[in-house]
């Protein structure tokens, strides 16, 4: 019994960390910049293909490929931000929806053209392929690795936003754009940077999820609802909120599936709905 509970907690935690890693970038772009970015999944998908290409055709090791995809997609996203997104910062959310859905469609067709529709997989390095023993049971090393990366990201993001001048500037720009500009903060540059970080995180999430989910072009839209769910429950723009939401949804979903599989995806949506009904801005969002 204790073994099963521990087992479910570990699995739930790993799933939660996966949710956190892929959603936190979206929380950053949607929350801090107020941009409804439905192309987030497309950046994640592209990030996955960068990892795949680097590993398969250039023999880049997995960790290096993850770092590479963070920077490559981050850089590519700047081009999109400057040419397309920047024009719509002041537009309504409906226009932003149309633009980003359009981009996601194009990304799917583009990825299908280059990689085909067949699900792609990568071979994990040996040190990630096995199991480690945590006493009560063995845990697949990759899941433990995901949990570690998740916590490392939490710390890095918290430090970046709360303890650096850059983070302070971003928060200032979000709170009061005009005031920030008038004290000499280059808001445009900040937004570009924030967007690049958000997209880079998406790419990282995409790369990390290949081993769990396989990679197909439709990754761009299939999991989008899930990302949005985590972001909304956590509260827009809150790294802490995204983390807590991912933990709550991930662990409840895993437990629900174990105890009462018949209800399928019922739990994750029911819980999300309950949270939003009570706290409309999410767990840690600003009202």
């Amino acid at each position: 019994m204790i073994g099963s509970i521990a087992s479910i907690l570990v699995d739930g935690l790993a799933y939660a960390m996966f949710l956190f890693i892929v959603s936190v970038g979206l929380s950053v772009t949607m929350g801090l910049m107020g941009f409804v970015n439905l192309a987030h999944g497309a950046f994640a998908m592209a990030g996955g293909y960068v990892v795949l290409t680097a590993m398969r055709y250039f023999g880049v090791p997995f960790i290096a490929a993850l770092a590479l995809t963070f920077f490559v997609i981050g850089a590519v996203s700047v081009v999109f931000e400057r040419t397309l997104y920047a024009r719509l910062y002041k537009a309504g959310e409906l226009d932003q929806v149309l633009l980003t859905i359009g981009l996601a469609f194009m990304a799917i067709a583009g990825a299908t053209y280059f990689f085909g529709p067949i699900p792609q997989h990568i071979t994990m390095p040996d040190w990630l392929a096995g199991h480690i023993d945590i006493g009560l049971r063995t845990v697949p090393t990759y899941r433990a690795f995901l949990i570690l990366i998740g916590f490392a990201l939490v710390i890095a993001l918290w430090y970046g936003f709360e303890r650096t001048t850059l983070g302070a500037k971003i928060r200032a720009a979000v709170d009061n754009r005009r005031m920030a500009q008038s004290v000499g903060i280059n808001v445009d540059l900040l937004f570009t940077l924030t967007f690049a970080v958000g997209s880079g995180l998406a790419a990282l999430g995409g790369g990390l999820s290949i081993h769990l989910l396989g990679l197909t072009p439709t990754f761009a839209l299939v999991y989008l609802v899930l990302f949005l769910l985590v972001v909304s429950v956590g509260g827009l723009g809150s790294v802490k909120g995204t983390l807590v939401a991912a933990l709550v949804l991930g662990i409840f979903d895993t437990t629900g599936k174990y105890l009462y599989a018949e209800a399928g995806g019922f739990f994750i949506y029911a819980i999300a709905m309950a949270v939003l009904l009570i706290k409309p801005a999410g767990l840690y969002g600003r009202e």
């Binding site: 067709a109 529709p117 049971r137 899941r143 197909t216 299939v222 599989a261 018949e262 399928g264 995806g265």
Partner: protein, 402 residues
């Protein structure tokens, strides 16, 4: 004189054009070309193309023309419109394809209304052929692999108890019901039956597999659609530790299709599936098929059971063209010819049961093993000869004809 000349020329042109029309059989192909399951469509599409390319000369002077259309989403929402337009606008003579069962169900009334024959190349919900007398199925019913798997697990694999896990949609329920029927008729007992979420959900199967581990069955029967979920099953089986606990992983061929094997890794070794095709099947027609496939598409694009189904579907249509001398004007005649089809394809000997218009084929129990070159392959353990759809034989539910 001159006027006469013109008139006769016009008449000649008319005759020529009408014979040219009669000589070309238009085949309306409906497959998922875009969306989540586009890779399933590709497997069949490539088989169609390859067959036509290699055998076009066999049916001279008749020709075929493929009119390809996207079948639409798995919900079958576009299928009726697409089928109707293929019939009324493109004036096709026969329809072929369809991966998703809801598509086939949606378009069945159109076939009856238009007297349009259809050769189904996948869609496996058992009762589909009962929906229209113009449907002939060249793929399989969910019961084809699942029922013999139940028998085989109880008799040959020494399983006394089994757990079942399935994707929570009708094919999954069909497949597990068939397995359970076969298994319990032969003395086995199903102790757990776990729906593992609907096809659209994230395939994190860990909690379900953990539940199976706690139930400690001898065998674990899994059904998942042969898409991106396929390789996940084997991975979770290894990760959750079912393999180490000595629980055998068994299932229909969707759990270990040839084209997904390379991605599965060594965790897949020892998995036992029941199915009508593997790339490694030892028969002359299959050797020829795989050789031609690899010559055309390269070694990295691997044919699977869907490709074999596609190949046989097209072979049956070509056979019908020969028998009817290219005359597809009478839908009933076409169906009559199709439903008496017998042939040798990559799957070995296949035929259609004229009473049910469903396929009769061998089912092989196959084990995933590591070949000498390090790649994974499927080894035949035993064969159940010429299996009919047991759902219709046993008249289960809708298969009994409502």
């Amino acid at each position: 004189m001159k006027r006469f000349h013109l008139a006769s020329l016009a008449a000649l042109a008319l005759v020529m054009s009408s014979t040219a029309q009669a000589q070309t059989v238009k085949i309306g192909v409906m497959l998922p070309y875009s969306g989540v399951n586009a890779d399933l469509g590709t497997q069949i599409d490539k088989a169609f193309d390859l067959y036509v390319k290699l055998h076009a000369k066999d049916i001279a002077p008749y020709k075929v023309e493929l009119v390809k259309r996207d079948e639409g989403p798995p919900s079958g929402a576009n299928a009726k419109t697409v089928a109707t337009e293929l019939i009324t606008r493109d004036k096709v003579n026969i329809l072929a394809g369809v991966v998703f069962s809801p598509s086939a169900i949606a378009l069945a009334p159109v076939l009856t209304q238009a007297k349009m024959p259809m050769a189904i190349a996948n869609a496996g919900t058992a009762w589909i052929p009962t929906l229209s007398p113009y449907i002939v199925r060249f793929s399989f019913s969910m019961w084809h692999p699942a029922y013999p798997m139940g028998e085989y697990a109880a008799k040959n694999l020494g399983c006394k108890t089994a757990a079942m896990g399935y994707t929570d949609f009708p094919p999954g329920k069909d497949s597990t019901e068939a397995f359970k029927t076969g298994f319990e008729k032969n003395g086995g007992k199903v102790i757990e039956s776990i729906p593992m979420g609907n096809p659209a959900q994230v395939p994190d199967m860990t909690p379900f597999f953990t539940r199976v581990k706690d139930a400690k069955p001898d065998c674990f029967y899994v059904f998942i659609p042969s898409g991106s979920h396929a390789s996940a099953v084997v991975k979770y089986y290894g990760e959750v530790g079912l393999k180490q606990a000595g629980i055998k992983l068994i299932g229909p061929m969707d759990v270990a299709p040839d084209n997904k094997l390379p991605a599965m890794g060594d965790a897949a070794i020892g998995t036992i599936v029941m199915g009508h095709y593997s790339k490694d099947l030892d028969n002359p027609a299959n050797k020829e098929f795989v050789k031609a496939w690899e010559a055309e598409y390269g070694k990295n694009f691997i044919p699977d059971f869907m490709s074999a189904q596609g190949w046989d579907t097209m072979a049956a249509i070509f056979d019908t063209i020969k028998k009817l001398k290219g005359d597809f004007s009478d839908g009933e005649k076409v169906v009559d010819t199709l439903k008496n089809y017998k042939g040798n394809g990559p799957r070995g000997q296949v035929s259609i049961d004229p009473a049910t218009r469903d396929i009769v084929q061998d089912e092989h129990a196959m084990e995933v093993y590591k070949k000498a070159d390090g790649s994974l392959g499927l080894k035949v353990l035993g064969t159940v000869k010429q299996v009919k759809d047991q759902c219709k034989e046993l008249k289960v539910g809708r298969c009994g004809g409502n």
